[in-house]
């Protein structure tokens, strides 16, 4: 081999590690509590179990959605990205780190405030908080603090990247740092929508400062945020797939340029698509719904690129290890390494997950599945398997790396068990949800016999299957909670690697255009303006009188 590039920062700086770990602790507390809420839901919906008096099904559902969809993801992503930037672009400066800590505390205080309101049953509005259901103002304020806090955790990542570029003029930036920055930008632009919704509409409305809100406008702003939100979850998983997993299996990054291109494509195409969540709603023109359907299909392309890169990396490495024939290389992969196996199961889940997503976005076809439990089955494959299992796979080495401990063979074995249990549990639960959804079973509904209707009777076996799958998933959550405690506090001291793959030798230099944020930023803004201007003008001009809040229905 020629010059082995001297990687300057093999370890995450000690102080940065503390900031990253703080985020990761909150994430795993959220996983345990949110997972418990999920278990209660599937049990109730099986028809075999009642919640203790005083706890409502939808209250538990709000806990589940907020903790897992918003809290677990955001905290884990911030922890992982802070660590990734510190590892590949160098330690944060004291100022940068301080901003990050302020962000962490704002997020934590906001989470606690929102949680108190949910527990008091003052905010049973689910994690989408659709108006005109009106929660207590502290709930909206809490979520605002979570978002503002997450901005402050993004700031040091971007500052560090800018600093690196300045200090290394003309060079290609570290891939992981670049990816973290793209995800931060995506998050800034996405959360603008929900910030406008909450700060100018829901918060003053819940405080009694304004009497009415435009319901359709709040929903459109929410989904302007809600779809890029899923890419905000997905991109950190892709960071691990592109950069970390190749190193774990002993391979190289297939193509640095391709990885950057796919991230930029995600950045621009994840926005002009939010209305595909509103296909069955009144007040939005069919033409503009269809335009966003077309743009939604564009965002599949970078996922196709990613799938190719992944399997190319796997095959190249498998053949290097002596695998022959069409599939011989497949057997050579390190199947007993939980850092590989668990994200790999996640990748597999993304194949049916992505295909189901195309069904959801398919305009008329959406009518068959909209708001059925099929949709719940869909995002339990994408975010709750592809993304979450990749996060688990990252946690297995990231936590000991940050705490100065090691992943022992026993813990590695448990990690594999978690991945396999998750795969089986989710296969059962998600398949049952998909089928029941096609039969018409609605999402977000407690157990009901619907007056003895035959159709509803047919859903019950699938609801029992969901309870079986959900129980297996909860067992996996207990095991990983044990693992996290071990890895953070009790595993043997030592050095656990933060795996960062190098680019395959002979790869071409990455074109500078892929790091030209101005150019991609202009494209992004142009696409948003194109996709949203007409629908928004339409919604505002055509809107009925606003709607008062309802806070007495739960």
């Amino acid at each position: 081999m020629q010059q082995t590039a001297v990687t300057k920062f093999m370890k995450v700086d000690r102080k940065d590690a503390n900031l990253a770990m703080a985020n990761i602790y909150v994430a795993f507390v959220a996983l345990l509590l949110g997972g418990l809420a999920g278990l209660l839901q599937v049990l109730v919906r099986s028809g075999q179990f009642n919640l203790p008096k005083g706890i409502g099904y939808y209250q538990v559902l709000t806990v589940h959605g907020v903790l897992l969809g918003l809290i677990l993801t955001t905290f884990f992503i911030m922890g992982f990205q802070i660590a990734a930037v510190s590892r590949t672009a160098g330690p944060l400066t004291n100022t940068q780190r301080k901003i990050g800590w302020i962000g962490f505390w704002l997020m934590t205080i906001g989470t606690a405030a929102a949680a108190v309101m949910v527990l008091l049953n003052e905010a049973t509005v689910l994690y989408t908080f659709y108006a005109p259901l009106k929660a207590h103002w502290i709930f909206y304020l809490g979520l605002t603090l979570v978002v503002v806090g997450s901005w402050l955790l993004c700031v040091p990542q971007i500052m560090k990247y800018a600093q690196w570029r300045k200090e290394n003029k003309g060079q290609t930036s570290p891939l992981l740092t670049f990816m973290a920055v793209v995800n931060c930008l995506l998050w800034f632009v996405a959360t603008l929508g929900v910030a406008v919704e909450v700060l100018f509409m829901l918060l003053p409305w819940s405080l009694g400062l304004i009497e009415r809100v435009d319901v359709l406008l709040t929903r459109t702003l929410f989904w302007y945020f809600g779809h890029p939100l899923v890419y905000f979850w997905l991109l950190p998983a892709y960071m691990a797939w592109y950069v970390v997993v190749p190193k774990i299996i002993g391979g190289k990054i297939f193509s640095d340029a391709l990885a950057r291109l796919s991230f930029m494509l995600f950045l621009i195409f994840s926005f002009p698509v939010g209305i595909h969540h509103q296909l069955t709603e009144p007040g939005i023109d069919g033409f503009w719904k269809f335009v966003q359907v077309v743009l939604t299909f564009f965002v599949v392309v970078p996922s196709l690129m990613t799938a190719f890169s992944m399997f190319a990396t796997f095959e190249m490495r498998g053949r290097e290890l002596g695998g022959r024939g069409i599939l011989g290389w497949f057997k050579k992969l390190p199947w007993n390494d939980c850092r590989f196996l668990v994200p790999f199961i996640g990748m597999l889940a993304f194949i049916p997950g992505g295909a189901g997503g195309l069904v959801n976005a398919s305009y008329q076809m959406n009518q068959l599945v909209h708001n059925t439990v099929w949709v719940t089955g869909h995002f339990h494959l994408t975010v709750a398997t592809a993304v979450v299992l990749t996060f688990f796979g990252v946690a297995f080495w990231l936590i000991p790396h940050l705490t100065g401990r090691t992943l022992t063979p026993q813990l590695n074995f448990l990690g594999n068990i978690v991945g396999i249990l998750w795969g089986i549990g989710m296969l059962i639960m998600s398949a049952a949800m998909h089928i029941a959804g096609l039969l018409g079973a609605p999402r977000r509904s407690e157990y009901s016999e619907y007056g003895g209707a035959t159709q509803a009777y047919d859903w019950v076996p699938y609801q029992i299957a969901q309870a079986v799958g959900g129980t297996i998933l909860f067992i996996a959550i207990i095991i990983i909670t044990y693992m996290v405690i071990k890895l953070a506090f009790f595993a043997p001291k030592g050095e656990e690697e933060f795996p960062v793959a190098e680019v395959a030798p002979g790869a071409e230099k990455t074109p500078a255009i892929l790091e030209n944020f101005k150019l991609w930023g202009v494209l992004l803004v142009a696409l948003i303006i194109f996709a949203y201007t007409m629908p928004l003008i339409d919604i505002i001009q055509n809107s009925p009188a606003g709607t008062k809040g309802f806070n007495n229905l739960w």
């Binding site: 409502g56 939808y58 559902l61 659709y130 005109p132 259901l133 319901v215 359709l216 193509s255 340029a257 391709l258 291109l261 296909l279 069955t280 709603e281 009144p282 007040g283 023109d285 069919g286 719904k289 269809f290 359907v293 299909f297 564009f298 599949v300 392309v301 196709l304 690129m305 190719f308 190319a312 195309l358 398919s362 305009y363 008329q364 009518q367 068959l368 708001n371 059925t372 018409g440 609605p442 999402r443 977000r444 509904s445 407690e446 157990y447 009901s448 619907y450 007056g451 209707a453 159709q455 509803a456 339409d538 055509n542 809107s543 009925p544 009188a545 709607t547 309802f550 229905l553 739960w554």
Partner: protein, 166 residues
């Protein structure tokens, strides 16, 4: 930027599939007119009964329109008015619905009839009910404690079948 030969094939094949899907959806929507609910008519959700046709919820046979029946339905927490609907097989039906309070769903389980009902808006969908049987209408958007107990039903009756069984 260099793309591997197989990768080019893969991306061309993938993108071509996406384009084919989109053409099918587009022809279905703009040629065959299978748009989901996209009504832009508005009303005052606090005085729903003062707006036609919500002054008279129920099933109505209509003349001189592109459809034979109108189903007029008002949703409110936690019920539908009317509570039961009966239609003849193969009737072309326009569903017209709205809500008096929060957002509700209007879904005929296991069919394409699926709309969001939002305060201040008419939701409309026209279709041919071409399968006999009894269907459950469910609320599929969370609306409060009684959400899962909010339902109605549609019976699609084959008049010939009833006659021949007599």
């Amino acid at each position: 930027m260099h793309l591997h030969k197989y990768e080019k094939w893969w991306l061309v094949f993938g993108s071509a599939t996406l384009v084919a899907f989109l053409i099918i959806l587009g022809v279905g929507a703009f040629h065959n007119g299978t748009h989901p609910n996209q009504s832009k008519k508005t009303l005052d959700y606090e005085r729903v009964e003062e707006f036609e046709p919500f002054d008279n919820p129920g099933v109505h046979k209509v003349e001189g329109k592109k459809w034979d029946y109108e189903v007029v339905l008002i949703a409110s927490a936690f019920n539908y008015n009317p509570g039961a609907i009966e239609l003849p097989l193969n009737a072309k039906v326009k569903f017209i619905a709205t809500t008096k309070d929060v957002i509700h769903g209007f879904q005929v389980a296991g069919t394409n009839i699926n709309m969001m009902l939002e305060p201040g808006y008419y939701s409309e969908y026209t279709t041919v009910v071409n399968k006999a049987g009894e269907y459950l209408i469910v609320c599929n958007e969370f609306c409060g404690t009684g959400h899962a107990f909010m339902y109605s039903s549609i019976k699609v009756v084959d008049a010939n079948a009833t006659d021949s069984s007599n």
